[in-house]
């Protein structure tokens, strides 16, 4: 009995060594290369205006999916991934903050993708400082994150 199990395990060990190739070990990239990227950090928008999201996504194997999320930063709870600091309004309590959260598919088999999304800003939301978060995965489950501070005014 023991011998058989041992033999089976050894066999598995041997077969296992064949699988070592084609592992995706790198992150996808969010890039501004060769395009007029939008939004950019500290950009100001008016209510009712449309945010024309435009970024390049790259991956060495296959891109997965991306997500755009907007939430208020009225309490200045965190800062963007950009090195520039934007000027912030004073802290305030949200009344009707804008919440936007949407996942988007990328056509399968792509290693590069120009993501363009039009995001209309509602007219009845609180003005102030917001975070614009972009999250991007590849098929292996690696995630890249980019955060922008934006301001919405009257």
């Amino acid at each position: 009995m023991k011998k058989y199990i041992f033999a089976a395990l050894i066999l598995l060990a041997v077969t296992a060594c064949g699988d070592d190739k084609n592992r995706d070990l790198s992150y996808p990239r969010i890039s501004t290369a060769d395009i007029e990227a939008s939004p950019t950090n500290c950009h100001e928008y008016r209510r009712g205006e449309v945010i024309k999201f435009n970024y390049m996504f790259y991956d060495d194997t296959e891109l997965g999916m991306f997500n755009i999320e907007v939430h208020n930063n009225f309490d200045h709870h965190s800062h963007s991934t950009s090195s520039t600091e934007c000027t912030m309004d004073p802290n305030k309590e949200p009344v009707k903050p804008w919440v936007f959260n949407q996942g988007y598919n990328i056509p399968s088999g792509r290693t590069e993708y120009n993501a363009k999304v039009d995001i209309p800003i509602p007219t009845d939301i609180d003005t102030g400082d917001y975070h614009f978060m972009v999250r991007l995965t590849d098929m292996a489950g690696w995630q890249q994150l980019q955060a922008f501070s934006i301001k919405i005014v009257e």
Partner: protein, 696 residues
């Protein structure tokens, strides 16, 4: 669980723990050799003296001197154990024969045990399901705090400190024996400040976090533990009852609680000893009774225990997605009660056969609270029974074989969000995060082993099957894990995880040389894995529980050489390989894969008014390029460490001093298995620890 039984068996087979003779780094002596001869499993006993002499700042750090045992740093200076790369619910921590039940699934949850109350430790590497039931896949860390006092009045006081996090602690033990009756009591107080890392700033994604005085903000903490015990210890009857309480509160690193970088209004830099939000607090209360009847041929053991674990995690309330800002800071509360009963009968049939049989029952009741959902309310019931025969062919050859059957039942309650989420224009609902579900599990496990010794050789082989019942988080999770900012989804139809393992032990000891090699190979047909997918749910990356075939193999090796009465040297190391064989991550390793490591130590021992030693150690860790999302490759490193210990015999008092210096060169390095690795926080810098104890 049934561990009790083994515990009791060991207690009875062995005299008091102090009889185990210990060398500073390796465990040696007759008792150990007897243990090695008796057992077919790869195990190790560590005495109180070893724990004291090698005190490395915490019990888990001390146990890291055992090849194959690692302490995963979970922040706040706390750590959780892994054996052969398996931790969390894949190994069992057993205290006095009863499985310790906290919220051990949590990445940042420590072990709620008073490390200074521990008299001795037994480490079993490899599957021990036969005796311990579910979870004991990677191994068992068996802690004993039930040593029976021999004097009318005896005790000890220990004062200890660490420089890195300015930790101060005191622990006292008292005990006494009146005829066959005895009592024990102990108390421990620990207080520590924010811990230091050898860097001025931390960069995570492109967030840039500047540290004040190289300290991780808000990682200070406190611990208050006590226990009392009373019992009767006769020739053929022993019974005792122990009541213990462990309370701890510690902060989470304020700048990156989980993976979201936060700025806060809280002035974290005003004091390095205070605990602000976010923090965790936990209280573990345990009542444990152990009774033993010893006849000429039959021995009966009964253990009963009740544990109450209350954990709270507080953080600053903030809105997220459709969740409005909660009214208070209580993010998570877990209240878990566990009742355990087990019994074992051991029967010496004749000179050759020793048959033991046991049964165990464990009931868990878990309730949640707070605004962050991660695990549903649940109740589980587990029952198991086993029979094991030890067949002694001769003094040189021992076989053992056993079978075990377990039945488990889990009832998971439904949970709905406390806030509404829009599902279509004009319609919003309290989203269901966990459905009501009932699952039954059965598992049949077995194990067989052989132990052969001749001359200086001890050869062992053990083959066995272990299992683990899926935990409610794996079955029922369906929501955001705010600590790691990801969306975790359980799978209601997971099968019990199974593991087959073959391990061997090749030990040779000569006059001054000892060599030990322990290889193993381990196969899981259905390892439960939290798979990072490419999908987004509610704005966060979806991690989904799934099952995959996994193959692991590895070995531990150790060589000791005594040059003469004073000088000795030791080299030891371990290696582990893990590969997923199916599913989405086929070809990848498992999360938190331990890189290879090796230690070389030179030691000088002397005797002058009591024993003493000085040793220097180099600890080398290899690169870890075997990763799964979202891990990063971790470069290797080496650290220089030193240690000294001295006992002063002063009549009926013994003064004990232990000094430990870690990372003498103050090297900056990362630990691949640390919880903080994901946010690029290096390991603590140079640290000195000192413990002064007085036995009376």
């Amino acid at each position: 669980m049934i561990s009790t039984l083994l515990a009791a068996a060991l207690i009875t087979c062995q005299a008091a723990d102090s009889t185990v003779v210990l060398d500073s780094i390796t465990v040696s002596g007759n008792s150990k050799r007897n243990y090695q001869l008796r057992s077919t499993m790869s195990g190790l006993q560590i005495s109180h003296q070893f724990l004291e002499t090698n005190f490395a700042g915490s019990l888990m750090q001390t146990l890291e001197s055992v090849p194959g045992v690692k302490a995963m740093n979970i922040g706040s200076g706390q750590s959780k154990p892994t054996i052969r790369g398996l931790g969390f619910n894949r190994m069992a921590v057993v205290e006095d024969g009863i499985k310790h039940e906290g919220q051990q699934w949590g990445d940042d949850h420590g072990l709620e045990i008073d490390q200074f109350a521990i008299d001795r430790v037994e480490v079993i590497k490899g599957p021990a399901a036969l005796l311990y039931g579910s979870d004991a896949i990677g191994g068992v860390l068996s802690l004993y705090s039930n040593h029976v006092p021999r004097e009318r009045f005896q005790g000890s006081v220990q004062v200890f400190g660490r420089t890195n996090n300015e930790q101060l602690g005191i622990s006292a033990k008292l005990g006494g024996r009146f005829g066959n009756f005895f009592y024990r009591a102990n108390a421990t107080l620990i207080d520590y400040a924010d811990f230091q890392v050898p860097t001025d700033s931390i960069q995570y994604y492109s967030y840039y976090i500047r540290l004040k005085e190289r300290r991780l903000r808000n990682t200070a903490g406190r611990e208050r533990d006590w226990s009392v015990m009373a019992g009767y210890d006769g020739y053929d009857f022993h019974t005792d009852v122990r009541l213990s309480s462990n309370w701890a509160k510690s902060g989470f690193f304020a700048n990156a609680h989980g993976l979201e970088v936060r700025l806060s209004e809280i002035d974290y830099d005003k004091s390095r000893r205070d605990i602000d939000l976010p923090y965790q607090s936990v209280n573990h209360i345990k009542v444990l009774s152990h009774t033993l009847w010893r006849g000429d041929v039959v021995t009966v053991d009964v253990n009963l225990a009740y544990q109450h674990n209350k954990r709270e995690e507080h953080s600053e309330p903030v809105s997220h997605g459709y969740m409005p800002r909660p009214g208070d800071s209580l993010e998570r509360r877990f209240t878990k009660s566990t009742a355990t009963a087990n019994a074992k009968v051991t029967w010496d049939i004749n000179d050759r056969h020793n048959l033991s049989s046991g049964a165990s029952v464990e009931y868990q009741h878990n309730r949640r609270g707070g605004w962050g959902f991660i695990i549903p309310d649940f109740e589980t019931l587990q029952c198991g029974a086993f029979v094991l025969d030890k067949f002694t062919v001769s003094n040189q050859l021992v076989f053992n074989a056993g079978v075990r059957y377990d039945y488990g039942r889990t009832h998971i309650h439904s949970y709905n969000d406390w806030y509404k989420t829009p599902v279509s224009p004009g319609d919003s609902v309290f989203m269901e995060r966990s459905g009501d579900q009932r699952r039954n599990f059965n598992s049949f496990t077995w194990s067989a082993g052989v132990n052969y010794n001749t001359g200086g050789w001890v050869l062992k082989a053990n083959v066995g099957k272990s299992f683990r019942i899926p935990i409610p988080k794996e079955l029922g999770a369906d929501g955001i894990n705010y600590h790691i900012f990801r969306y975790e989804k359980g799978y209601a139809h997971l099968d019990p995880e199974q593991s087959y393992q073959l391990d061997a032990g090749i030990h040779w000891s000569g006059k001054s040389l000892t060599v030990q090699v322990d290889p193993y190979i381990n196969y899981f047909p259905n390892y439960i894995y939290l798979n990072p997918t490419s999908t987004y749910v509610e704005g966060l990356q979806l991690y989904q529980y799934t099952q995959a075939r996994v193959l692991r193999w590895g070995l531990e090796a150790q060589v000791n050489y005594e040059f003469n009465r004073h000088w000795s040297a030791e080299v030891k190391g371990d290696y582990l390989y893990a590969r997923q064989q199916s599913g989405d991550k086929k070809g990848f390793t498992l999360p938190f894969s331990t890189p290879w490591s090796a230690d070389a130590t030179v030691k000088y021992s002397y005797s002058w008014r009591g024993d003493g030693f000085v040793s220097v150690n180099a600890h080398v860790v290899g690169d870890q390029n075997e990763i799964v999302p979202p891990e990063k490759p971790t470069p290797g490193h080496w650290t220089l460490n030193a240690q000294a210990g001295k006992h002063f015999d002063m009549g009926r008092y013994v003064l004990k001093i232990t000094f430990h210096a870690d990372n003498l060169l103050n090297k900056r390095y990362y630990d691949h298995t640390s919880y903080y690795r994901l946010i690029d926080v290096p390991e603590p810098g140079r640290n000195f620890s000192l413990m002064v104890g007085l036995d009376f």
